[in-house]
Symmetry: C2
């Protein structure tokens, strides 16, 4: 299977019941970057994983960072990669 790019992948731990959190993040990113994203994939995982990847790059790993991503930070990271000229409105003013 070939995926569409830019592709965001959210791998979440099913044992931790993080599907809702992952699906919420997916919808936020698809709303903000509606015309810029090829797809957002939800990937069931295990062992406490919560990782967000953009194509081959890991943007966020809960294990490395010790926390879930904050939404404004996540959006800025995605924006910087796929739509660097785009303003995120009030999100940008808290940089």
């Amino acid at each position: 299977m070939t995926a569409r790019t830019p592709r965001i992948e959210i791998e979440y731990c099913t044992q931790c019941r993080w599907l809702l959190r992952a699906a919420w993040l997916a919808q936020e990113l698809l709303t903000t970057f509606r015309d810029d994203l090829g797809e957002v994939a939800l990937v069931p995982g295990t062992g406490g994983i919560f990782e967000v990847r953009l194509d081959d790059e890991t943007l966020w790993s809960r294990k490395e960072r010790g926390a879930f991503p904050e939404l404004p930070e996540m959006k800025r990271m995605v924006r910087d990669q796929i739509a660097p000229d785009r303003s995120l409105g009030h999100t940008d003013r808290h940089k």
Copy 2:
């Protein structure tokens, strides 16, 4: 980018604002087939599209069928392909 299989792809029309519907279906399928699915991808589209694909096969096309998929039917179609021995509980009793 290589996707994980079995892969379900839900392509939805952004102009029609069907993201919430697509995300709801994604979560239902990921809940029911937690250990059987490689990923569920949400794919923004246009022009009234609402299509559900399993790997290379189209399971549902709103244009062809003239309606959105019913959840029990959708789950049976997915189950028959990826976990044929699995009972879907009360969903199966309405066959």
